[in-house]
Each structure stands twice: as C-alpha cells, then as structure tokens.
C-alpha cells in the first residue's frame, strides 16, 4: 500500500493547492505592505492567524464525518496541506523576526512573535470549536461514531 506522500496524484493535488495558497499569500502581502503598518509584519501575522483558524476548522469538520475516505483525504490534502500550508509561512515569520532583532527592534520582535503564537493558537482552537458544529457534523455520542482519523495521519 503506497503511502499518500508517494502517490504522484496526491502530491500533485498538494502542489496545486500550495500554488493557490502561496499566490493568495503574496496577494495579501502586496495589499498590506509592512510600511503602512509601522514596521509590523502585519500581512504575515494576518495570514498565519487566519490560516491557523481555517486549518483547525477544516480538520475538525472533516474528522467529524468519521473515518477518512479517499475523497475526504483529497479535500484535506488539497485544501489543508496544500492551500493553507501554502498560505501560511514559518520562513517569513523567521526572517521578519531575525531582521527585527538584527535592527535592534527586540521589543517589536517579541510583540510580533507573541501575537503570532498566541493569536495563532487561539484562532486554531476557535476553528476547531467551530468545525465541530454545523452540517455534516456527527452529533451521535462518541461511542457510536465511526472511528475518526488517527491524529498522526492528519495535518500533513
């Protein structure tokens, strides 16, 4: 049984999603240049927090439907691993922080990373909470639900 990450079609879906997500991320950085926000990397902050919210929501909504099927896996890989993985970025966060520190702006750097980590975590938890509701959500008692996807297989 070939693992997903060695299947060309699934890798292709991730690539497609990643291209879309990265393009969207770039569009945001163009629309929200750092100069207009007093040196704060607001664009990256917004992208990462929104992306964390959406991924929390997506994965929870998918897992609530029960065991992963080929179709829901394609959705997870394209939208989650691909689009949201492409939309969010750790490299920009790292570089922006490094530049702030190199420029002597330690306080701004600290504020920026704190806002990102705290904001991202809170957003993710909120997304998970919202993902557990709505249409398609399995409202049966946990014991009756089909076993959900093992945690280690998600969020790739």
């Amino acid at each position: 049984m070939t693992p997903p990450h060695r299947r060309p079609r699934l890798v292709g879906l991730v690539a497609l999603g990643g291209g879309v997500g990265s393009a969207a991320r770039w569009a945001v950085t163009v629309l929200v240049p750092d100069a207009t926000t007093g040196g704060w990397p607001l664009a990256t902050l917004a992208e990462n927090v929104v992306g964390a919210f959406l991924l929390g929501w997506l994965l929870e909504a998918l897992s609530r439907r029960g065991r992963e099927t080929p179709r829901t896996r394609r959705v997870r890989l394209t939208l989650g691993t691909g689009v949201l993985g492409g939309f969010t970025t750790y490299s920009s966060l790292a570089l922006e922080t490094e530049r702030l520190l190199a420029g002597g702006d330690a306080a701004v750097a600290l504020g920026y990373v704190a806002a990102t980590l705290v904001g991202g975590t809170v957003a993710c938890v909120a997304g998970i909470a919202l993902g557990g509701r709505g249409r398609g959500a399995d409202r049966r008692p946990a014991a009756d639900r089909a076993s959900s996807v093992p945690a280690s297989r998600e969020a790739r």
């Binding site: 693992p3 997903p4 990450h5 060695r6 699934l10 890798v11 292709g12 991730v14 690539a15 497609l16 999603g17 990643g18 291209g19 879309v20 997500g21 990265s22 393009a23 991320r25 770039w26 569009a27 950085t29 990462n48 992306g51 964390a52 959406l54 991924l55 929390g56 994965l59 989650g80 691993t81 691909g82 949201l84 993985g85 492409g86 939309f87 969010t88 970025t89 750790y90 490299s91 920009s92 966060l93 790292a94 570089l95 922080t97 490094e98 520190l101 190199a102 990373v113 990102t116 980590l117 991202g120 975590t121 993710c124 938890v125 998970i128 945690a151 280690s152 998600e154 969020a155 790739r156």
Partner: protein, 133 residues
C-alpha cells in the same frame, strides 16, 4: 502577473516537497513530536536566510539596482518556495493537538522550539551568506 506565476510555481513546488519530506520523516519517527513539520520549517527558514543574505550582500556591494534585479528570484525562492515549503498552520494544529491530548510539554516544545530554531536557522543563513559574499 509574472510575479504571481513565480510565487505560485515556487509555492506549489515547496508545498509538494513539504508533503513528501514530512511523509518520509513521519514514517521513520515515533513518539508525539512532529519532526516532519519541524524539519521543513527549520530547513525552509535556513534557505530563506540564505536568499535574504544574497540580496543583502548584492545591495551592499552594488546598490538598489542589484536588489531590484534579484526580485524575481526573491519571489520564486523566498515568497514562493520557502513560503510554500514551510507552514505555520500545520505546526499550530499539531501543538494544539498535543496539548489537547495532555502532552503539554511536547506542545510547548513544538511551539517554542520551532520558533527559536527557525529564527536561529534563518540568522545562520543570513550570517554565513553575507560573510561569504
């Protein structure tokens, strides 16, 4: 339009590479710590540091025109490839999952460890590149 394509292509390639590498690492590691995501984030941050270092060095040596000439490379490699290769959303979900399953220390290790090591890797990339060039 060209900028968009450069970013999209780099980002698509980066995301695919992340998916593959993360999968390979996962299949070889045990325990709760998300080594796959951690690795791609650190590696991507090192590379973006190198790209930034190249641009900084070019700017210092040849001025703003040189920096402008490198913009397509920056878009493709930094914004695109590194941006697609690394991921904040997955790292966050993994930390939240660890915390919710009671593995708080691993969650903190992932959150803080990823931050510290990626910034350090980036700084290393910048430092080494600007020193060499």
């Amino acid at each position: 339009m060209t900028s968009l394509l450069l970013v999209a292509l780099g980002g698509g390639l980066g995301a695919a590479a992340r998916f593959v590498l993360d999968g390979e690492i996962r299949s070889r590691t045990r325990g709760g710590f998300p080594w796959g995501t951690f690795t791609v984030n650190v590696l991507g941050s090192l590379v973006i540091g190198v790209v930034a270092g190249v641009i900084l060095a070019a700017g210092a040596a040849e001025g703003p025109a040189a920096v402008a000439r490198l913009e397509p490379w920056r878009l493709a490699l930094a914004t695109g490839l590194c941006g697609g290769f690394t991921t904040f959303s997955t790292a966050t979900v993994e930390s939240v999952r660890l915390a919710r399953s009671g593995r708080l220390r691993l969650a903190l290790a992932n959150t803080l460890g990823t931050l510290v090591v990626t910034v350090a890797a980036c700084a290393l990339g910048v430092a080494v590149t600007t020193a060499i060039l």
